[in-house]
């Protein structure tokens, strides 16, 4: 697969909230974050703090209440196939086969002709080459999540937004997919933002880890993980960073 021109992303003083039962629930408060083209950033934070919301803003599914999100200096106003979000739930279309799901993007944009080997390739990348004709309800949770990743990759996104894509997987599949993610990111050079609950996963994959406070989310910590890939989880530098993050999270959870 070919490399892409990665996207640079800038959250510029974002505040966002939701209307719940008539009153405004603040979710993000004055969040500013710069993500360089080709960078791999992990977002950590307590449940319900607004991580998924941040990804939805980057994908263009919602427009922020205040501030703006810039993709290479252009404000994001609508979703676009160069910024693909892999949702927290796999959300495969149950009425399409796995192959039908993976090719949904090119098909919807009318670009499917001549792309069928790309679809095969994406299926192979996530280890589902024998399940192209299966229905989503015939997949395990982990397989469904991998199919969702294939559905994203086939579009050659310049920015890949991953919302806890590995949360449901068993630890072995998880380790393999982590390796695959890193390999894909290195090969194709997209920008990646990964939301995760797993401190170790964040440290193994990301160039930078951002830690959020409970809702309304603010950035409370930024860690640079300046270690080459492939990383080992028993790397003393990573262990030190992990201690720091866990301590910070522990403090947050006591609040």
């Amino acid at each position: 697969m070919s490399a892409v021109t990665p996207l640079g992303l800038k959250f510029d003083h974002i505040s966002h909230g939701y209307d719940i039962g008539g009153s405004l629930l603040p979710v993000l408060e004055n969040v500013s974050l710069n993500i360089a083209p080709g960078e791999f950033v992990a977002l950590l934070g307590p449940s319900g703090c607004g991580k998924s919301t941040l990804l939805r803003l980057a994908a263009g599914l919602e427009t922020p209440g205040k501030g703006q999100v810039l993709a290479d200096t252009q404000p994001i106003t609508a979703p676009g196939p160069d910024r693909i979000l892999v949702f927290q739930e796999a959300t495969l279309f149950p009425w399409r086969t796995v192959r039908g799901n993976v090719q949904a993007g090119p098909e919807a944009r009318g670009e499917l002709t001549g792309k069928t080997d790309r679809v095969d390739e994406a299926l192979r990348l996530v280890g589902l080459e024998n399940f192209g004709e299966a229905w989503p309800h015939q997949l395990s949770g982990g397989m469904a999540q991998r199919a969702a990743i294939a559905r994203a990759l086939v579009n050659d996104p310049r920015l890949l937004l991953l919302d806890e894509p590995l949360g449901k997987l068993d630890s072995l599949t998880r380790l393999n997919l982590q390796k695959d993610l890193i390999r894909l990111w290195q090969d194709r050079g997209f920008t990646a933002i990964l939301v995760t609950h797993d401190v170790e996963e964040a440290l193994l994959l990301a160039d930078r880890v951002i830690l959020f406070s409970p809702r309304p989310a603010q950035i409370v910590e930024e860690l640079l993980v300046d270690r080459p890939h492939p990383r080992r989880r028993d790397d003393p530098a990573l262990i030190a960073l992990r201690g720091r993050l866990l301590a910070r999270l522990g403090v947050l959870e006591d609040v």
Binding site: P81, I84, T91, F93, R96, E107, A108, N130
Partner: protein, 329 residues
């Protein structure tokens, strides 16, 4: 793909060697149909019905077929046939009893109950008129049903998808929807120039309204996250309607189609009884007026088979289109 299909075939592999076995149900079915045939042939009728000999021969032939099948068929290889064995036996017994209490003993009141050969006689002597009636009914039903479900489906999509369409359309549908289509009969016959057009309209109304309601509710229930996925993949409105909204709502649409199918039968027969010059409903009505009850039963049987056949057909279509659903098929 190969993975899945190979796994599915595994347990058929060793079905080759099966020891010779008689299909016992076939023997019993031959016996029950054979006795129906013998009773019909040898005992005298209390009055003339016509086609008595024909009925005896027909049941006799069927008995012979069961006898042959009992020896020719390997039960283990024909689970379907074996499954229905008890039904074949009971059907023969039922014909036997029916024959005895009507034609042979005359126990049931005479003009109202016809023996089986009475029905056979109707099919043999009145088949051309019955075929014509089937054609008329088929034309009326086909036009009404397909017109109704097409309009209902399109209206349902509009109502489920577009807020503005729903704002103006939903109150109408909510007001008109619960009214039984037969309530429109008086004004339909008055508004339309011909009774045929009025009948088509009534069938269309009966089948279209449930389809419209269920399509609309199906589409409005589609989870927002499917649209979110489609939008991030770069899908436009049109793709979202045809490739997300409609397939996601299809299970609901089929509920509406089944309801519409049943309602269409109900209103179809009533409309034919009221104003038609041909058709199965008319046939029932006409023959009841002449106390030709054998013809009424013959017509009813055809109607039952046609309606059940259409319902079955819709099930087959649904299973093909909704094969992706868990638990179906």
């Amino acid at each position: 793909m190969s993975d899945i299909s190979e796994r599915g075939q595994g347990h058929y592999a060793s079905a080759d060697v099966v020891p010779f076995q008689i299909w016992r149900g076939g023997l019993w079915a031959a016996l029950s149909w054979g006795s129906a045939s013998a009773v019909t042939w040898f005992l005298p009728d209390v009055i003339q019905w016509g086609a008595t000999g024909g009925f005896a021969i027909l049941t006799g032939v069927i008995a012979l077929v069961f006898l042959a099948l009992a020896f020719l068929v390997t039960p283990a290889r024909n689970p379907g046939l074996v499954h229905y064995g008890p039904w074949f036996i009971v059907l023969g017994l039922w014909l036997l009893i029916w024959e005895v209490v009507t034609a042979k003993l005359g126990w049931l009141p005479k003009p109202f109950f016809s023996p089986p050969q009475g029905l056979l006689h109707v099919y043999l002597s009145d088949w051309d008129r019955l075929l014509l009636c089937i054609a008329y009914t088929g034309r009326l039903w086909g036009l009404g049903f397909f017109f109704g479900i097409s309009v209902g489906f399109l209206a349902g999509i509009g109502l489920g998808w577009s807020k503005r369409f729903a704002y103006w359309g939903m109150p109408f549908l909510k007001l008109i929807g619960p009214v039984p289509a037969s309530a429109w009969i008086p004004c339909a016959f008055f508004v339309f120039p011909t009774t045929f057009q009025a009948s088509v309209f009534l069938v269309a109304l009966a089948s279209g309204i449930p389809v419209a309601i269920l399509t609309a509710s199906g589409i409005s229930q589609v989870s927002r996250s499917y649209y979110d996925v489609a939008r991030t993949l770069g899908a436009g409105n049109r793709w979202q309607v045809t490739k997300i909204a409609i397939p996601a709502a299809l299970p609901n649409v089929f509920v509406g189609l089944f309801m519409g199918l049943y309602y269409s039968f109900a209103v179809l027969v009533v409309a034919e009884m009221l104003g038609a010059k041909f058709g199965l409903g008319w046939y029932l009505q006409f023959n009841t007026a002449y106390s030709a009850y054998a013809n009424v039963y013959a017509g009813l049987l055809i109607m039952a088979l046609l309606c059940a056949g259409l319902v079955r057909l819709l099930f087959v279509i649904r299973d093909r289109l909704l094969g992706w659903q868990k638990g179906i098929v």
